[in-house]
Structure formats: C-alpha cells, structure tokens
C-alpha cells in the first residue's frame, strides 16, 4: 500500500542512517516544535492575514517587497502571503492527523487485543478483515467515500483512521498472543484473576510501547493522506489554507512560480521526516533489546 511504498520504504533507510546523528534529531525536534507552535498559535503568529488577497501583488517571489511590506516566502496567485498561509496550514495538517491516529490506535488496539486474547474465530475474522483492508487501495477508497458523502472534518478524520487502524491491530494482535502465553499471565489465571484484570494490568501495558512507536509512523502517513485528500479537493472544507490545497493550487504555476509548490511540499516532507526521525528515536529508547546492542 501507499504507506509502505511511499513513506516507509525510502524513509526507512534514511531514518536508519540519520538516527544516530544527534544533529538530525535536534533539527527534527526543532522543526516539530515550530510546526506545533504554528498549529497552536495559528493566525497570532502570521505576518499578514493569510486570507487577505491583494491582486496587485500576485506571484511575488520570496523576499520581494510588495505594497504591504516584505513577503519572505513570496505571494501566490491571488496575492496572499505564502508564509502566513503555511503557518495557518499547520493546524489542519496536525489536528486531523493526530485525531485520526488516536482513533485508529484505539480501534486497532481493541480489535488486536480481543482477537489475540480470544484467538479462534475472532482472530481469523480480524486477520481476514485486515487483509481485505490492506489489499484495497486506500486512496481509491478515501476518494470514493469522501466523494460520495461530501467532505467534512469528522468524515476526513474517519477515513484516515480507516486507512491506519490495520497496523495497530496486527501488532497488538501478535504481541497479545505472545504475552498471553507467558508464565506470569498464566499465574494470574491460576490465581483466578479476571479477564479484564489480565487485559488492563498485564497485556495493555506491554503492548503500549510498540503502539506508541507505531503511532509516530502512522502520524507521518496520516499527514500525507490528509494532504493528498486536500490536494484532490476532498480535504477538510475550510476557507483557510491547507498545505495540500496550496500544493494543488500551485500546480498550475509550477513552471513560473516554484515557491507555490516547493514550499508546502517541503513542509509536508520535513514534518513527516521529523516525525519519523523522532519516532525512530522513541523506538530505540523504548526497546530494551536494542539498547543493549
């Protein structure tokens, strides 16, 4: 699927190469902090009103001085300030993806733990369902669903969650089957501990570290999905700019105004890379076997 080929594949190698470099980690953390600040502060941080159009100052290159002052990252086709648009665009990118990943993790963990603990038909059903989900091209599914039902914030979140829950379910499923056979779980059974107690006190805490690492990777993918949906005009409907829509609108000007596509594209790329670098760091930190090496 898209995740494997587009983000995980090439990035995975890069992550491994970069993970040992503290400079890269610091840079990733800094960029992440910057995006977080932009997402929280939003319009309070922008040099101009990101929706203010000035048709007299269209397509100014980065650094140009227009009637309202200097445009550090230039202006777009309707004379809006690109820097301000990028800042405001951080919020939908992060908000939608974070909520979607939370949702996907919750669903995935529930399904994975239940199926792993119970086994049998439930496990077969889960594996079968996740295979179907994995073999269906996600983007096609997303476009169909959002296209038919008309885009809205809950729907976009739901669709991205739908495209991200499988890895959570799969990982927690295999972790659960492994853990439930361990001696201390059997001991709880012997001592007549309830199923709920086993799940909550013994299995869940043990699957969570893996889920956390998985969530960071899923977050990167979710950002790409959100931008992709915005790109094809099926993203969150809002009159404020989003990175995906900026990319899509800048496409017509690719040859004449590079900054309209390179900048939002770069933001998406750097954000996903930063999340992955930090995720890799988190994994190394949480995995005792790796620490010993």
């Amino acid at each position: 699927m898209m995740k494997n080929t587009m983000t995980m594949g090439p990035l995975h190698g890069m992550r491994r190469a970069l993970a040992g470099q503290p400079v890269i980690i610091v840079a990733a953390a800094l960029f992440m902090a910057l995006v977080l600040a932009a997402a929280i502060a939003g319009e309070a941080m922008t040099p101009y009103d990101p929706t203010y159009q000035d048709l007299g100052a269209r397509l100014l290159p980065p650094g140009a001085i227009g009637p309202e002052g200097r445009y550090w990252l230039g202006t777009e086709a309707l004379g809006r300030d690109v820097l301000s648009m990028l800042i405001v665009g951080a919020r939908p990118a992060l908000f939608v993806s974070v909520v979607a990943v939370f949702l996907a993790a919750a669903v995935g963990i529930c399904a994975g733990v239940c199926a792993g603990y119970r086994g049998g038909r439930l496990a077969d059903a889960l594996l079968y369902l996740s295979n179907i989900q994995l073999s269906f091209p996600f983007f096609l599914l997303a476009i169909t669903i959002v296209g038919i039902l008309r885009p809205s914030v809950p729907l976009v979140i739901g669709v991205i969650a739908l495209g991200s829950w499988v890895p959570f379910a799969r990982v927690t499923y295999s972790d659960t089957t492994q853990i439930k056979g361990l001696e201390y779980v059997e001991a709880v059974h012997v001592m007549r501990g309830t199923t709920l107690r086993v799940l909550a006190r013994h299995i869940l805490p043990n699957v969570l570290p893996n889920v956390l690492v998985l969530a960071t990777f899923a977050l990167g993918t979710a950002i790409v999905m959100e931008s992709g949906l915005s790109f094809v005009g099926l993203g969150v409907p809002t009159d404020t700019p989003t990175w995906g829509r900026m990319l899509s609108e800048g496409r017509d000007y690719m040859q004449t105004a590079w900054w309209l596509t390179v900048l939002p594209g770069g933001c998406i790329f750097l954000l996903v890379l930063s999340i992955n670098v930090l995720g890799e760091q988190l994994r190394d930190y949480s995995d005792p076997k790796l620490n010993r090496d």
Binding site: T51, Y52, Q53, L55, G56, R58, A77, L78, P151, G233, P237, D239, E249, R251, D252, Y253, M254, Q255, T256, A257
Partner: protein
C-alpha cells in the same frame, strides 16, 4: 473605452483573417502543385476533454462537436465577419411564408461513401432530431418544426407551427442553437445507433480514419470534398486534461496544437522558439448566476448588496489581463441585440454594507477547477471580496461533470459561474440561464418569460431587438446576474501552423494552414 478598443481590435483581426483565407484560396487555385506540397502534413491536437459520442443527434458536448463539425456539415454557416447566415450545403434559402422555409441544396455534394446528398437526407436528419426516442439535446431548439417536405431531389421545405425567426440560425453549426448536421439517410436507417456513432459518415472536409476510444482519434482529408480542400491532410486528436502537461507537450513538440492554455503559461508559450499563442476574444461568456428562486437571493436587496460588493473589473484585469473583458449584459458583444446603453455594475461597498444592514449571510458554494479560464482563481477572488461585506462563503472545488449535474438538479448552491457559447450570435441564448423553463435557469420571472416568448415569435427584426433590449434592462435592474465577463479562447500553436481563431471555443481543423514543413 477599453471595451470598444478591444472589439475594434477583434474586428480588424477578423478582417485580416478573411483576407488571409481569400488569399489562400486564390493561391491554392493558381498554384495547384505548390498547395499540394503541404498536403501530406499531419497535425497533432491535444484537447482538454475526451470524446464521448460522434452521433450529431445525441451530443452537444464541446470536444464532440469539434470533431463532428469536421465530419458532418450543416445547411447554412455564419459569416465570421458580419455574423450573417451564408449558404453551405444549401445553395440558397428563402422564407416563403411566415411559417414556411425553402432550402435549395447543392447538387455536387457526396457523403464519404460516395452517395450523393439529396433532400431526403435533410428530411431524415431533421426528423431524427425530432424523434422522442433519440432524446436529442437539440430537440427543444427545433421543436417549432411541424413538417419537413421533400419537393424534389434538391429542394426541401420546412414548415413551423408558429413563425420562428431563428429557424435559419438553427441550421448553422456554431453555438448551442440547434446544430442540425445532415446525416446520410441510407446509412443511418440500416445501421444501429452504436454503429453510426462509431463509424460516422458525413459530407465534411474530413472523414474518420481511426477512433481509439479514450485514447486518440484520427481524421483524414476527404479527397472528394465539394468545397476547398483543407491544408492539413490528417489530424490526430489526443486528450490531455492536465493543464501543465498539455502545455509541456506543446513546448516539447509532442503535439502541434493545444486547447485552453492556462493564463499562467501564456508567457512561456509566447517566449518559446517553437510555439505561439493564438487567441480569440469571442470566448465563452461567463455569468455569475444568483439563484433568485430561493433564499437568500429571492430578495432584491440582498442581490443588490451582493453585486455592490463585487469589483469584477479588478479581478478580470489582474487574473485575465488582455485575455478578458467585463461585459454589462449577459450577451457576447457580437450579438446584434446588445443594449449598449447599459453599463456594468459598479462596486459600492458602502451601499452593500448599508443594504446588508449588519446581517451576515452564510453561503455554501462550489466551483469548477479548470473547466473555464482561471475559474478557481476568479471564484476565490470573488469570495474574498464578498467576505468584506458580510457574505461568509464556504468554498468547495467540485469536479465539473458532477457540478453541472447539480446545477441541473438545482442543488449547486446559491451562486455559481457558468460559461456560454454565443457562437450563434443571438440574444435568445439568454433563455438557457434566465427562462424559467430551462434546466440550467436560476430565475423564474414571469415578466422575463413573457418578453422572451414574444421575442421568439416576432418576425420583425427591429421589434425583436426591442423586446430583447427590454429583457436585458429587466435582468440588469433586478440584479439576476451578479457579473458578466468574457475570457478569450487561448490556443497554443506550433509555429509551423497558422490559424485565425474566429469562433472562440470552436476549433476548426479544416481552416488550419501549414506554413512550414
């Protein structure tokens, strides 16, 4: 001031084109062998949309029509310069009684399979359009016809139920007026709808050589054409919906002609060594329609506030530059009935705020992206201007096929932009978006409907013009249409070719000249 300069420029362009064409025909006649030198030229054309149907009675889609006008012909054509009707397949026509038209056919016209054209074919073509089972999009345009009579092999008479001043215009190929293409009776009667669609046989300057559905279509010169032979021997049409891909294909020499050059790429093509821009100001007339049948725009004051919020001149100047002009009435400037005394609306924010009276109106609206020149950018600029006077717009980009379906089912939102081809040069086109009986109309004004009804039956030109002028005044005073502008049809051409774009959005391969091999 600007408008008159532009229309003067267009006129002189048209005049020079006429010169060119006459010159070329003469040189072709004088220097036969020299003209033949270019005769094996193949030209590759990239259209922005695909071709669905080539059955003239079943489609009115732009790309389909671009191909059909090469294969099929009509009884009459419009003179590009004067806008008057000229003979074509018919060598003469006459209004014998207010409800009886007589057409005399040429006797040297043959279909691509060698069968000569006769009056029976004309009768069959008209009756096919009128057959309810065909469900032709042109049906309503020629619904006034009550009977078609074959007088002899080359004479046909058309009787109308009531006097129809526009019947002649329905017999020409440009615009949406009727497009009565003449098809061969013997072939259509003996073959299925699917067969005649896949293998069209007409009388036109080109015949279909190959059609790979969804990929490409090739036309080949008809060696037995009755009129002047076209300069281009073969035309291969492909479809490239993506704007920048289409432009790059031209610049890299993969194709020779492209349709719909985006404004942002005009300069790149102008600067290129191998390509040039060919533009016609007679492009589609873009109308910003307000749905006055429903709230909030069923209220005149709200419509007036909307109009006063807009500075369309500013938008068109910046986004379309020399390839756009603001119009005062929803008619192309070449339409004879245009009321020159009406001025475009002026922006007046103070008035708009006063009319809004502190209210905020939320509007969910849609735009196409790429259907019309700079459509999405213009829509966004309009939204921004509206935002400052209390109209809160939730924008949404919508795929064109779906959007037009929503327009027809009256669910495309409180306002939207739609472009109209005024090729037929008559004010009756306004009915498409203003008459309450039209599927794409957004108004239901009995006063307008009455004027349109009277005009449609008025045989006296001066009185008819007067009625249409009253209708324009009414539409203007009631603020049914918030803004009107015309965007040029901009084509990219290889420098090896020459063409004068006279018909706006209608690309005519037969008039392309090869100037360099």
């Amino acid at each position: 001031m600007k408008m008159s300069a532009l229309s003067a420029a267009t006129k002189s362009l048209e005049a020079s084109a006429r010169w060119c064409r006459n010159g070329l025909i003469i040189s072709a006649l004088l220097a036969g062998p020299a003209a033949h030198a270019a005769s094996d030229a193949q030209v590759r054309i990239a259209l922005s949309g695909g071709i669905d149907l080539l059955d003239p009675s079943r489609t009115a889609n732009g790309p389909d029509v671009a191909i059909m006008t090469q294969i099929y012909e009509t009884l009459l054509v419009l003179d590009k310069k004067t806008g008057e009707l000229k003979p074509h397949l018919a060598k003469s026509f006459e209004l014998k009684e207010p409800t009886l038209w007589e057409f005399k056919l040429r006797d040297d016209v043959k279909f691509h399979d060698g069968t000569p054209l006769t009056a029976a074919d004309v009768k069959y073509s008209l009756e096919r359009l009128l057959t309810p089972a065909i469900n032709s999009p042109h049906y309503s345009q020629i619904a006034s016809i009550s009977e078609v009579k074959v007088v002899d092999d080359h004479t046909v008479q058309i009787r109308t139920k009531t006097p129809d001043p526009l019947l002649g215009r329905r017999m020409q190929p440009i615009g949406g007026s009727g497009r009565v293409f003449i098809v061969p009776k013997h072939y259509f009667e003996t073959h299925s709808n699917q067969e005649v669609n896949d293998k069209p046989i007409g009388t036109g300057p080109y015949k279909l050589a190959e059609w790979r559905k969804g990929t490409s279509l090739t036309l080949e010169r008809n060696p037995d054409y009755w009129g002047p032979a076209p300069d281009v021997a073969r035309g291969r049409y492909t479809f490239i919906p993506e704007n920048s891909t289409r432009v790059n294909a031209l610049l890299q020499g993969d194709v020779d002609i492209i349709q719909r050059v985006p404004m942002s790429d005009v300069e790149r093509i102008e600067k290129a060594d191998n390509a040039k821009i060919v533009a016609s100001m007679n492009g589609l007339v873009q109308t910003l329609l307000l749905d006055s049948r429903k709230p909030p725009f069923n209220d005149l004051r709200t419509r007036q506030a909307f109009v006063a919020s807009l500075d369309i001149n500013n938008i068109v100047t910046h986004l379309l530059g020399k390839y756009g002009r603001v119009l005062a009435v929803p008619l192309a400037p070449n339409v004879v009935q245009v009321d020159q005394s009406i001025q475009p609306y002026r922006p007046d924010r103070k008035l708009a705020k006063q009319l809004m009276d502190g209210k905020n109106i939320a509007l969910n609206t849609y735009t196409s992206d790429g259907r019309y020149v700079a459509d999405r950018d213009i829509y966004q600029a309009i939204n921004a201007q509206l935002g400052s006077t209390g109209f809160k717009i939730t924008p949404q980009v919508m795929e064109w096929g779906r959007l037009i379906g929503m327009m027809q089912s009256r669910s495309a939102g409180p306002f939207y932009i739609i472009g109209w081809d005024f090729g037929e040069g008559d004010a009756s086109k306004m009915n498409s978006f203003l008459n309450s009986n039209s599927a794409l109309s957004v108004t239901a004004d009995p006063e307008y409907d009455k004027l349109a009804q009277e005009a449609s039956a008025e045989m006296d030109e001066a009185k008819r013009t007067e009625l249409w002028k009253q209708a324009q005044k009414l539409v203007h005073d009631k603020y049914y249409i918030a803004a009107v502008w015309q965007a040029a049809s901009v084509y990219g051409f290889s420098k090896k070719l020459q063409w004068e774009a006279l018909d706006g959005d209608n690309f005519d391969l037969a008039t392309v000249k090869v100037i360099q091999k």
